[in-house]
């Protein structure tokens, strides 16, 4: 899921400096699971802002604010309140913020920082596992991603900064992705995959440029 953390409250206040009436939108999916934009956090945020003298004209947790259809349907009955507000405070990931801006046509302030696509170990403990690079190579690497988990994105084995299976970036606190990959492939009896030299990646197809997936549009016009 998309891992988010709440921005420092002072930063939220600074962005809302000239705004009196605030409408809050939370997220029923990832941000709820991260405890950053669910029912409880929306309520807490409303209370904190009220203490600072802001007026909360309305609040809602949209099931999936990143889905334009659900966002517009869920907020339709609240459009009067939304229009009355000076700004929307979005407790969603960056995709949610932009979906809100595009469809609700209102100044929208991000209340969260979007960190990464990650795995949840428990609340407050998340690990980045996918960079959404656009061309999955997990088969070749035993299901461990060097794009997301190696700071240099090495493709052919560990660099000189590995010691005791740990990575020098972050002072040997994290595992070296390539030692994990090596051990996994060895366990699977698939070391040939390690020995194969990987070609340089084709960044004209990867996520450096903005991308759109349009296959549904193409097959169901």
């Amino acid at each position: 899921m998309i891992i988010t953390v709440q921005k420092p409250f002072e930063e939220v206040l600074r962005m809302l400096d000239s705004i009196e009436d605030v409408f809050i939108i939370g997220c029923g999916e990832c941000s709820t699971l991260c405890h950053t934009g669910g029912e409880e956090q929306v309520k807490e945020m409303a209370e904190k802002l009220q203490k600072e003298g802001k007026k909360i004209v309305g609040a809602i947790v949209v099931e999936t604010p990143c889905d334009a259809r659900i966002l517009t349907k869920d907020t339709r009955k609240l459009s009067a309140e939304i229009q009355k507000s000076g700004a929307i405070l979005a407790l969603t990931c960056g995709v949610g913020v932009q979906d809100i801006v595009e469809h609700l046509k209102k100044m929208t302030i991000p209340g969260l920082d979007t960190k990464f696509i990650g795995q949840t170990e428990r609340i407050g403990e998340f690990y980045e596992r996918c960079r959404a690079c656009g061309e999955c190579i997990l088969f070749e690497t035993g299901g461990i991603c060097p794009v997301a988990r190696c700071p240099k994105g090495m493709q052919n084995g560990p660099c000189g900064g590995m010691y005791d299976g740990k990575c020098e970036v972050g002072r040997y606190a994290k595992d070296c992705a390539w030692v994990l990959i090596f051990n996994r492939l060895k366990d699977l009896n698939m070391l040939d995959l390690y020995k194969t030299v990987k070609d340089p990646r084709d960044y004209s197809k990867l996520n450096v440029q903005p991308r759109e997936v349009v296959w549904i549009k193409v097959s169901n016009p």
Binding site: G157, G160, G161, M162, Y163, G165, F182, V197, P200
Partner: protein, 307 residues
Amino acid sequence: MSQNVFSNLMSQLKDRKFTFTGELEPEKTTNLAEVIETANKLKRHVVACNVTDNPQSFGYVSSLAASYIVQREAGMETIYQLTCRDRNRIALFSDLLGAAALGIRNVLALTGDHTTLGDTPQAKPVFDLDSVQLIRMIRQMVDKGMDLNGKQIHDPPRFHVGGGVNPNARPLEPEIFKLEKKIANGSEFFQTQVVFEIETTRKFFKEAKKFNIPILVGIFPLKSYGVAEYFDKTVPGVHVPRHLLEALSKAKEIQEKEKRKAKCSEINLEYFTDFIKEIKKTTPAAGCHIMSVGYEEIVPPLVEAAK
């Protein structure tokens, strides 16, 4: 290994002569007088010198410019270090053509230390290619006269390409497999990470000797107790033997500067002469790469003594 010989380094390695290379580290300056002076001191004692490329991600004067100037001014053959950290494949390719045009004949292809470890940690790390892919690209430029996409180079470069390898790696197995990959992709020689212990060196060669490729063992004479302690404490996997540390620690107590320096040199000469002789005797190493930045005066007597 390719059939052609373009450099003195490769000529010596092909003759299977025990080979010494040195190291030059250009710094944050436009004045290369000091580097040229060091190169002059090392001349006749080492066959070629590495010129480091922003080592440990500290921003210094370009290794390409320094390599060229050292060759021109000091007549010292250089091993141009090139890392993937700061350049995408277009810039790497372009710098390599420039290096060949300037008469550089040896390249050491490295991934490079991570940006966050250096003096400009805010920089965007590039790492478009890794060292294995860079080695392969250089091979293709030299052997086929082509860029990565198969486009022809007019008047292709003539380089010998080398790689790095770390005998201290733990686990060692993935490192050995990676060494094999670099060889399979055309690396013609290797220089290792710093090693202080003969046992580590032997263990490494037990695995590496099957490849029958020239490997120069990285050694680092210790100018002072401070340098030794720094290595021992901060470079993981690199252990300075106890008795060497203790000897240098004792030397530190000598009040008179000249006497202290002399004692340190004596300790270094004794330790590293034995070490190099052991390497010669008990491993198939092709030579030693002496990293003596700031302590170049040790190189002539050491090379002489280890003969």
